[in-house]
């Protein structure tokens, strides 16, 4: 434990008060805690309330007057095939994209660890995709993979193939384009965290290991990776949470089609709340998703907590 060193001063001054361990810690989390309470408490109550009633704005009654459905909305979600399909599809998307992003991001971060000519410029280039507005990323990938778009044109030229491939006509290839766009846009994020994480590693243990005759691979695996682990965890958790909400790219590239073949959970929730106006039902679904994701995240971050306690 940190040593609580009492400073000799005349009486309990404010500075001394703020220097007390508990007060210090509370003062540090207070801004965040209060902001979140301020932002979230009332809306959360409203969401929970909405999820228990049967309400759409177009029913012509105010939401606080809507008839109760109690758990009816939740039961409906559990029976909703489109929900389960979207959930599984989204989980698959997250798995594939985040793994690829992690591997590519780690590779790039290792590559950029040493100095080389033009590194600063190239770092900017590598970081660039995540700086573009999402509409534009979706748009460009959509256009690239059009039936009569540049990619098919190049394939046609290279292979001499006559029939261009219909990327958006099949769920797998359409999802592939979405994954590709996501990986393109968000590998830079993995790179950003892992690159700065690698930079923060102490150099001595690595140098020591090298002098002791360890190979570069051994140094990486046995010395760097364990030290990097908390940051790797955090990068993956953050990225997975964001990827789970994937909406923009799907919305622009396929609109979830053909039919619902590429619909993500967020797109379904968007249609439910913004287009169908089924706000109660969407609220129930969102609450269920939140509970599920929170539980998964808890499991995933368990190792981190244990480390922190050590």
């Amino acid at each position: 434990m940190a040593v609580d060193r009492p400073r000799r001063s005349a009486g309990p001054s404010l500075a001394a008060l703020l220097n007390q361990e508990r007060v210090f810690a509370l003062a540090l989390i207070a801004p965040l805690q209060f902001l979140l309470w301020f932002l979230l408490i009332i809306p959360t109550i409203i969401v929970l309330y909405l999820s228990l009633v049967n309400w759409q704005p177009i029913m012509g009654v105010d939401w606080w007057q809507a008839p109760f459905a109690w758990l009816g909305n939740y039961a409906r979600v559990l029976q909703d095939r489109r929900f389960w399909e979207a959930l599984l599809r989204t989980a698959g998307l997250v798995g594939v994209s985040v793994s690829l992003e992690f591997l590519l991001g780690l590779g790039l971060a290792l590559l950029f660890r040493q100095d080389f000519r033009g590194k600063r410029l190239l770092t900017s280039v590598v970081l660039y995709p995540m700086m573009l507005p999402w509409v534009v990323v979706g748009l460009v990938f959509f256009l690239l993979f059009l039936d009569k778009g540049p990619v098919n044109y190049l394939i046609g030229r290279l292979l001499g193939a006559d029939a261009p491939f219909d990327w958006y006509g099949h769920s797998i290839s359409a999802l592939g384009v979405i994954v590709l766009a996501d990986v393109w846009q968000w590998t830079p994020f993995m790179f950003l965290i892992l690159y700065s994480g690698l930079g923060a590693l102490p150099k001595e243990p690595q140098e020591a290991a090298l002098t002791l005759g360890a190979s570069r691979w051994q140094v990486f695996r046995l010395v760097m990776l364990p030290l990097l682990r908390p940051i790797v965890f955090i990068a993956i958790v953050i990225r997975a949470l964001e990827a789970f909400k994937i909406f923009d790219l799907v919305f622009i590239i396929t609109r979830g089609g053909p039919g619902t073949a590429t619909e993500s959970l967020s797109l379904y929730l968007y249609l439910l709340s913004a287009v169908y106006g089924q706000l109660s039902y969407a609220a129930a679904m969102a609450v269920l998703v939140l509970v599920l994701v929170a539980m998964l995240t808890r499991v995933a971050t368990k190792p981190l907590e244990q480390r922190a306690i050590r």
């Binding site: 902001l35 932002l39 969401v47 040493q114 190239l122 660039y128 009569k148 923060a200 923009d248 929730l269």
Partner: protein, 284 residues
Amino acid sequence: MRILAALRWLIALFAAAVILLPVVWTLSISFKPPREWVAYPPRLIPEEPTLANYQVLFQVGNPVGAIAEMTRSAESVSRAFLNSLIIAPVATVAATAIGFFAAYAVSRYGAGGPLFPLSVLTTRMFPPIAFAIPLLVYFRMLDLIDTRLGLVLMYTGFTAAFSLWMIKGFIDGVPRHIEEAALLDGASRWRVLFTITLPMVKGGIAAALLFVFILNWTEFLLALVFSSRHATTIPVQVSHYAGAVGRFYGPQAALGIVASLPVVGAGYLIQRHLVRAFTFGLVK
């Protein structure tokens, strides 16, 4: 070793090229007149390059083409730019600052209990669309709809989770004995925080700043729902070039490129802080 360095350089160059391809295509579209946007066979270099897509954005001169006429209006992107230039940086600095404080308290004192970081992270766990209406109802009570302050508060609250987690990861990696030694020397906790810990996690803070800035700069949904005339931001403006006659690919691409420039600038400035931090701290 020479060969290895050359190889490294080549791979980096190749990666950059792959990353740049879609960007180049975006640039190409932004200089094309409407009839070339999805021309077949596709051409990288516009047959008749034009600046019209950029001119539309700023209402400079009298741009040519039907598309330009349709998107012409009294309202240019300048207000959206101004709003974004205020909202995103303010929210980013605020989120990073409170995230950093909280991260330190959590990492060193377990403040808020073991579940606190996870509870903060719930703000990122479900799609904002499902939360938009309740939040809208609440902001109506507070009279914060269509104000910059409203967006700043939301952006700060919803991105602080990331700065907390990212920076916490870096603080966890800083050995405590350095801080403890300073405390024993009689430094106050605040002094230790700002003069010992902060410099050592500068890389993490820089990464968090950049990432949070990007999130705030490109956020669309909340901006759309919570703005009507006064608080419109750049991403909302980009969506204005999606019309009933079709999407205006050219102006959208152009605005995308223009909108990314401030982030590129921020990224370039922040870059050198990404890695130097720790070596700086341990040099002694």
